[in-house]
Amino acid sequence: MATRLPGTDVVIVGLGAAGGVAALPLADAGLDVVGLEAGGRLTRRDFAPDELRNNMRGWPFSVQKCAQEVPTLRRSRSDTAVQGNGHPMMNAVGGTTLHYWAQSWRLNPWDFRVVSATTERYGSSRIPEGSTVEDWPFGYEELEPYYDRVEHEIGVSGQAGNVNGRPDPRGNPFEGARAREYPMPALRWTGFLYRMASSARSLGWQPFPGPAAINSRPYQGRSGCMYHGFCNRGGCHVDAKNSPAVTTIPRAEATGRLTVVTHAHVRRVETDNQGKVTGVTYVQGREEFFQPARFVLLASYTYENVRLLLMSKARAYPIGLSNNHAQVGRHYLSHHQGAGVTALFPSDLHAWYGLPAQGVAVDDWADDNFDHGALDFIGGGNLWVYSDRRPIAAAGMNTFGLAPTWGSAWKAFVRDNADRTNSAYIQKTTLPYDSNYMDLDPIVTDPLGDPVIRITAEYKQNELAVADFLQDKMERWYLEAGAIKVTRGGLGGQMGVSTHAYGGTRMGDNAETNVVNRYGLSHEVPNLGILGASVMGTSGARNPTLTAQALAWRTAAHLASNWRSIVE
């Protein structure tokens, strides 16, 4: 029997990128908030510059709750799903933002209106067959104030390209208008990154430094970035990475309104006979607790948001909470980040001291920033060249067919070339399709006996065509910069377990095709809200976190200012 705890106004399930941000506007509005987090608290003393621990052994997320509920994967309905190799996210106060790359992009205006913009320019026949893509219920302009707020609350460094419609050639010429500059200038570049930017200009492209939730100078009393080279899958030893763990969560706790409960493994959202949620049940150690709440905000990762809804069946919701329209788990997509390009240069790139968020971007081939009239796809990708290298991975480099993989000849090769390769990060438009979805696996469970998520999904023709097109562009860029060898990865097929997982609880005005409304509140359950990229219907060509955070702030602000009408 679960121990019934004192009630609260709002319970947030998951204190990561989204939940950790939403806690602040709620607490500031005077609402009592309980934040349930499956992981514990980590501090900067836990974040040693240690490649073995962070990158090879997957510390600390290899021993996490999420590692015990890795989704199963299959390409199509007729295949048997097989459990993935691991879970890329981690449980902790702050979640995966503790060790993420921290690239903090806004989506471009096109991403909010893929259907109408494509139809206007090329005709409706250009929407790929089988895609369930919809326009967002609002445009970029609606989200702009929330992007702005989060950029300043957590701290984002970057170079604006469009302030109130006034273009700045140092920034991204394709970005939507922003109300003001970034709160901090962009992270610095290395000599190699300057060279790549110059080569992009030679090709007639418009390179710029990307945005990052990393301090480029001291901000809010925390240090600037130390560029030590262990940011990738490592936490920050000087708190320059602006996770909610060091920004919004401590500020929300300081109001006295946020109570953080760690090591809380939420299993069910409970519902009364009227179809309202009453709170959540969680396990901590071997004890079970019921946390009553007047409003429940699900803010775990995409896979877990969907799993909790599907597991929380009730009389009013016989096939899962907020699932009477059978939309939970639908419109799933994981960002196409594969199909990479790697280059070998004839001289050292001096990439040892850097971070994945320190780089040069090109947006000329993203979204609808170029004419697709003669092409067989819509969308595109952002090209990202960054500075990031550690010794074990460097020694394990691709030898480009120029040397064997061991022995004296290999040793001579890596001595010369360990610091001479670069791999581009190319994020591509990925659309939702009718045949790509998540549900509960009928066989595989976690240690508590709860089913894990089953992902049935593959990249379709549009994604593969985008990937091929972007590889051509990236190869050209590398060759222009003097690369002597370039290799390309496969175009992709089955979707794996991803850090960029979208959909499953999509946001939209139409309750027949979407789980949450334009404010992130359930269409069916009057006191349930959902945060995270699971509400996003399109991926854009850039990292999702800042958009998930802006949406989370917007949902929380809407809830706080309409508290009475929503809850009573």
Binding site: T190, D348, H350, Y353, I392, A395, W406, R415
Partner: protein, 247 residues
């Protein structure tokens, strides 16, 4: 493993004792082997005894048998040999690293090592009529190519799955033991980092240092991450819970 032991004392056995420098010191009060291994000061053994440089502490294998360790060193010596470019995996202590990790972070691979090394030995004896340590350099290389490409797979050897997956596991762990942080027992005297010209672990890299690096004027920083007291504290806290390996 084979019942018959090789009758010769190999060069590798000698190298092994050299490669073990500092490994035992890792369990000493100073935390990292790196600090002591790179200095000329006397070192602490696990029991706190003073030893001098000319009588180096021995590393006691905890997971691998003597035969397994010797075979693994011979293989590691082929993967990253000592040659004109300098020391290789053996001097780096890659086998020490693997043995230690098999008791901790890599414990799931322990069975794969025991059965894989036995299969490797059987393959040498059945296909080359001699144990690996008695083969010529060229024959050792050809055996390794068979194992790497999967050609050594088959019922007569008993590799679980393809021999190439055993090879790729070995290779990745030898890379970890040669190029990983010396705290974990490998990369002794920073031979791996020096080989690939890694300028070293630093906790802050100001613009001036990056400029020096790009100008070729930055000297390598020979430090383990845990030479910083800041992170060492966190490790010591783990150590009180019963492990001194930092795993």
């Amino acid at each position: 493993m084979a019942d018959t032991k090789p009758q010769l004392i190999s060069r590798r056995s000698l190298l092994r004792s050299a490669g073990a420098v500092g490994a035992a010191a890792a369990v000493g009060a100073k935390g990292s082997p790196a600090a002591t291994a790179s200095s000329h000061e006397s070192q602490l053994t696990p029991t706190g005894e003073q030893t001098s440089d000319n009588k180096q502490p021995r590393y006691i294998f905890e997971q691998l048998t003597a035969d397994e360790a010797e075979l693994l060193e011979a293989i590691a010596d082929q993967l990253i040999p000592e040659d004109d470019l300098g020391p290789g995996a053996v001097a780096a202590g890659a086998v020490t690293y693997i043995d230690r990790a098999l008791g901790g972070a890599l414990s799931e691979s322990r069975d794969a090592y025991h059965s894989g090394l036995a299969a490797f030995d059987r393959y040498c004896r059945s296909s080359r009529d001699a144990p690996f340590l008695e083969l010529s350099h060229i024959d050792q290389v050809s055996v390794l190519i068979d194992v790497e490409t999967g050609a050594a797979t088959g019922a007569s050897t008993g590799f679980t799955g393809s021999s190439s997956s055993f090879f790729s596991m070995l290779r990745s762990h030898v890379l970890q033991g040669t190029f990983g942080d010396p705290f974990y027992g490998g990369n002794q005297n920073f031979v791996g980092w020096d080989l690939i010209r890694y300028p070293g672990v630093r906790t802050s890299v100001w613009p001036r240092l990056q400029t020096q690096l790009e100008a070729g004027e930055l000297s390598p920083n020979h430090r383990s991450a845990y030479d910083s007291e800041y992170f060492e504290k966190a490790v010591v806290r783990t150590a009180t819970k019963g492990t001194y390996h930092g795993d």
